[in-house]
Symmetry: C2
Subunit: 545 residues, 2 copies
């Protein structure tokens, strides 16, 4: 029996402990969150990435619960992949549960999944653990962190948070609960590190209300606001501005519509019924009387904004004089796509309002001063910085040292590295194998190995060059067939040169070699020739006819 | 005869008027700068982009001069492509001329190129034009802007600049000259818009001196500073810090070495001879006595820092306790690569100092308050915002309106759009065709069309799937050969399924169709089948054997 508490962040490269965290004591496991990561630019053709659940496969019986902190994709997006394997019940606050249900229903997993709706302030007894969700403020309502009392001690998981005293839903973070944990004595704090390199205190979400007001004041034409479909608070703010300025609101895009309907039904959006009109009604209104709520703040080409920018939207066409508001932070890696869309929208005559000189978005995460406050409020013995890239964890750790947390009590770990602890000390164990699974394909799709990714990289750089060569023993008996894509703009001389190379190889070796050997020799010679002539190495294959 | 002055920014998409500007009056042309652009993430396999010179081809005789503002790649990098076609003389300040000579020598074009070394303060008579280079401060020494007196009026081109009162080389911008232009009356100002969305005043380069001092103070192991090979001022600052803290300096990487040697010879670097040691000598020094100057601030995998991060450097291996300083701005689009390298260096145990909480880099471009000062100093009739993406030009233009420049006197144009002007007014003409040329291939290489790029995109997403099918009329006479790369991890069943599809098509149509028709039918059926099974559409080709 292991009498130590084991904490293991699972998930992709990039942000640590963001997508999934595994809390393990003795023979019982609690999972926190199960989100997706967006692929980086060089993960070609990948739609998204999910945590590698391999570690859990021979411990499935031990999993007591899956707790969710809030409803953003990087925390809930992989739930359908998880619930195909894991049979434990889900615990989530009502809004998060609502968002989870939509996903599980679409994947036909809802009937088999047990979901308990919890409230901040509850005390849940789950196996060895006592779980106390507490309210935190973030950019989505109904966001919680967890106090988890284990036989080894109390741990506190911040979830995504900012210390926003004036959040959109009027429900500030539960400072009292954090102080109470502190009085009981906290063994370990897992805390959000996203903005660990950002000085000061993150601005309140209410700042956006003022910025939005200004935008509505100045706009004479239509207003189109793009944000994440799950940013419920932002939709509320735009709705409020619309009411104030006498505009109706139309919601475009399926995910946005689904979420708005659900949030209205559950009371997380407080908007009058007659505010929201459908697209047909919206089109009949004067330009100065309508605001469109759309997706596409990340420049996704298939989103509403993406299609607007490239004139490919059936439902909406951009007009000169429109105001487009991008009200979301650009996810690292999307900067280029987003700025290209912004330039493109300006090119089409729109006024584009984005995170440059205006406050149409503020971060949902705590900055350095808030991070200090959290540590001093909770006064944990150990700190595990989570939710951030390694560089953010390091910055978070250094900030903790400045507050007097001893270096040996801070564990800077990467995904797949377990930490074990008890009151005696903290031990970082060896990193597990595996880590993440690339999900590719719009249908059932499949996972993709690094091998396939490397091949895609080479294809993206140099394309391929396939030759059908009709041979009989030592002779070429007909015309050579060339198939090439993604290589270069090729001149006829190059094909003549390749043909010459092939003839030489066949003449010299044709009689003595097997078909496979001959193919291989031709391929080698052609690769060499193409590299000499063009400096590039496409995939080269021969099919002997 | 056209009595209007024509200004035409040439170059890629992205930043406007950055890489090359064409000033035309009557039958005479002056070119300013000739730089390269770095490809965006989705320009797969592209090394760099050069301006499309097509517009100049039937005006080659009219080109009087090629003026260069300063020696950075985005202003000089395409000179060898230009000088293969254009025979006009080059005018550049000594350091810029030195950097140009290196490039022209490597391309064996130096002997055929006439280079006039100019000084800020000179007055040059070039055809219809009187050219007055004036000193500006930027992040490289010997940087100038140009006053160009044309028969239509005086234009002022700012070049890349910031109003740095304490630049590293001690030579502040020539405010007096700008004021003098103003007194003479300026028809048109072309001004740097890079930081048009940045409030305030850009910090002085000397701030870096303090930050560097702090880094050297705290480092106990080796220090490795990465920056652009052409950031001569930064190399001076690191050298100064090394002297102060009793370290020697080793320069790693060919381009960095070449530039340091040249700058030392020409006096642009003021460092004692015994400061710089070679790699062998550096390795023998204690870790606390050496600083390495290297390239790779943009995370390029083949740069010194890139190789350090992935343990692939022959000359230098990272050790725990090393301090790595990334002293350069991350070029938009490189954010992901750079942060990955930073995380990787932390992972290897290095301390990484970068643009987060320290001042190891400041921008080389003017911020909004400086941009206002430039406009009010020069008091131009017309303004053409240049050097920035469209969104920056728009922000720059709005800033000018706030200063009282009438909207009709500001031309927001994109590359390839000519502006014509005289004292009566400003006219934006129709955009020319063409724009940029993708350069691909390490050897002679070739240019690449959008078609090839689109194919690479599809290959990167879905790969290819080629089948060699042995047929005789209606029958398949042997085993089908499959070649696939970059598609998915495929199970045997999928190949069985494809084989089944092929057999069906051959059975049904084999007897009646030509080979080409049959291939086409097979390809269509297989594409449909693969898409149904996997949701992806790889390139599919058949070779009948």
């Amino acid at each position: 029996m292991n009498s130590k508490l084991r904490i293991l962040p699972l998930g992709g490269l990039g942000e640590i402990g963001k997508n999934m965290t595994c809390i393990e004591y003795d023979d019982q496991i609690i999972l926190i969150d199960c989100g997706i990561m967006f692929p980086e630019n060089d993960m070609l053709g990948i739609d998204y990435i999910i945590p590698d659940f391999n570690y859990l496969l021979d411990k499935l019986d031990q999993i007591q619960a899956v707790l969710f902190t809030h409803g953003h994709e990087d925390h809930v997006g992989a739930v359908t992949h998880l619930m195909q394997t894991v049979k434990a019940p889900i615990y989530a606050t009502p809004l998060t549960a609502g968002l989870l249900r939509v996903k599980l229903r679409n994947a036909k997993l809802l009937a088999d999944t047990e979901i308990f709706e919890i409230q901040a302030g509850d005390t849940l007894s789950i196996g060895h653990f006592t779980v106390e969700p507490f309210h935190m403020a973030h950019s989505i309502p109904d966001c919680v962190g967890f106090g988890i009392t284990t036989p080894a001690g109390l741990i506190v998981h911040s979830g995504d948070y900012k210390f926003d005293h004036t959040p959109v839903d009027g429900w500030p973070p539960d400072f009292a609960k954090l102080a109470e944990f502190s009085q009981r004595g906290v063994m370990c704090l897992l805390a959000d590190s996203t903005n660990a390199t950002r000085r000061g205190w993150t601005q309140s979400e209410t700042l956006i209300t003022e910025a939005m007001d200004e935008v509505f004041d100045e706009a004479t034409g239509r207003i189109i606001v793009a944000t994440f479909a799950s940013l419920i608070s932002r939709i509320q703010q735009v709705g409020d501005a619309a009411i104030k300025h006498g505009r109706k609101m139309a919601v475009v895009g399926r995910s946005m519509k689904d979420n708005v309907r659900m949030a209205l039904e559950m009371g997380y959006l407080d908007l009058p019924e007659d505010l929201i009109v459908d697209l047909d009604a919206a089109r009949k209104l004067p330009n100065s009387k309508i605001v469109y709520m759309v997706t596409g703040s990340q420049g996704e080409p298939t989103s509403v904004v993406g299609r607007l920018a490239w004139n490919r939207s059936r439902s909406l066409t951009l007009e000169a004089g429109d105001t487009v508001v991008l009200s979301a932070h650009t996810i690292p890696g999307n900067e280029e796509t987003v700025t290209r869309i912004i330039n493109r929208l300006f090119h089409l005559g729109a006024n584009v309002v984005y995170e440059d000189l205006t406050n149409v978005h503020v971060s949902g995460h705590a900055s350095r001063e808030e991070m200090k406050l959290l540590i001093n409020l909770v006064r944990p013995k150990y700190l595990i910085p989570v939710h951030g890239e390694l560089r953010h964890l390091v910055a978070h750790a250094r900030l903790a040292y400045d507050l007097g947390v001893p270096e040996e009590n801070v564990a800077i770990i990467e995904n797949g590295t377990p930490v074990e602890m008890d009151s005696e000390g903290l031990e970082i164990k060896e990193r597990l194998k595996g880590g993440y699974i690339y999900i590719d394909g719009s249908g059932e799709g499949g996972d993709v190995t690094r091998r396939v990714l490397r091949d895609r990289e080479r294809l993206a750089d140099s394309g391929f060059f396939v030759m059908g060569v009709p041979t009989q023993k030592r002779e070429i008996t007909g015309e050579i067939e060339f198939i090439t894509r993604g290589y270069l703009n090729l001149e006829d001389e190059l094909f003549d040169g390749v043909e010459h190379v092939i003839r030489e190889v066949v003449n010299r070796h044709g009689a003595k070699k097997t078909g496979d050997q001959l193919s291989h020799l031709i391929e080698e010679s052609v690769i060499r020739y193409l590299h000499e002539e063009t400096g590039k190495r496409p995939f080269v294959f021969v099919i002997l006819k």
